[in-house]
Assembly symmetry: C2
Homo-oligomer: 164 residues x 2
DNA sequence: TATATTTGTGTAGTTAACTACATATATGCT
DNA sequence: AGCATATATGTAGTTAACTACACAAATATA
């Protein structure tokens, strides 16, 4: 099935695209999984559930920084979670710009059920990646590409080539 | 900067999200790069340019299969490339359902310039990933997750846990 | 104290992928 | 030959992320 994968032929040029294909595919699978299990949550909610459970109530910006996601994305996700009754939101006592989010009672009730699914998902990934040092690998990728971006690296290479 | 990354704390549970963050970031960087260099092409066009240059004219479905992308995505991308004057499209002689796409003269003229950029991008990635066997790693990821999806793996784990 | 800057949140608009469905043509079978 | 199925393309609607901008409130500075 993957015999004629042209992207693979492109070597490092295809690296980013292959990364994207895998992560897109896994995201879709996550969505299908929840629907299959008849669970009315969405793929990225787990990280908010886990974060608020672990750290307690947090503001939008604090969440955004903790998971390294742009704040409008956090607002979109958490609004949906509020609509679904999993989060409560109130103004910060000391700083009226801030909105503080926390898990609702409903969330606490449902969490044990969801955590079973997440544990199973984690075990599945862990099994699949057994012996690969995948977490180490991804940490290195992050270090490389978040410290100096793809754009910067390319520009440097263009300069080197020009000067030859 | 990455000290307080909660997703990293989640172990294998955060793996997919970290993959997505990196590939999203690289895609954005790619877009910024083209804009910085004042080049009017988009991040994923390179794979179509490369494919048609290497294989010659192809139909929508053939392209879709070669790069493992859903055909509506291919239509969207190639339509934009046509609008920009890089592709030509004509009906297949033998099969009037098919539409065959090929590089335009303009594309051939511009390709050398673009290929310099892609080479530099590739060198940048290659340098960053030096000694990591990144291509091998990603091939293994593909084998694991395209043969048996994340969903399937999770369901299996759920069953194992239940039976304990 | 008044103004300037920074910070927190919200909104609008963009992008790239997907699935599901619609339609036309080709192919296979009886 | 005629009908059923398969294939190729196209369209519509969904999703999740992003940047850029707007505005209010807090903080810093003159």
């Amino acid at each position: 099935m993957r015999k004629n994968d042209f992207v693979k032929e492109l070597g490092y040029l295809g690296f980013t695209m292959r990364l994207k294909r895998i992560s897109d595919a896994m995201m879709h699978e996550g969505r299908r999984l929840y629907s299959h299990l008849d669970v009315d949550i969405e793929p990225n909610w787990y990280v908010i559930f886990k974060l608020l459970k672990s750290r307690g109530a947090m503001s939008v910006t604090e969440i955004s920084e903790s998971i390294m996601m742009a704040h409008p994305s956090v607002i979109t996700i958490t609004n949906k979670m509020m609509d679904a009754g999993y989060l409560i939101s109130e103004k910060d006592e000391n700083d009226s710009r801030k909105r503080v989010l926390d898990l609702s009672v409903r969330a606490s009730k449902k969490l044990p059920e969801y955590e079973k699914i997440w544990e199973a998902g984690e075990s599945g990934v862990e099994k699949a990646l057994e012996g690969l040092n995948a977490l180490e690998f991804i940490s290195i990728l992050e270090d490389k590409f978040f410290s100096k971006g793809f754009m910067q690296r390319t520009i440097e290479q263009l300069k080197i080539k020009k000067s030859c």
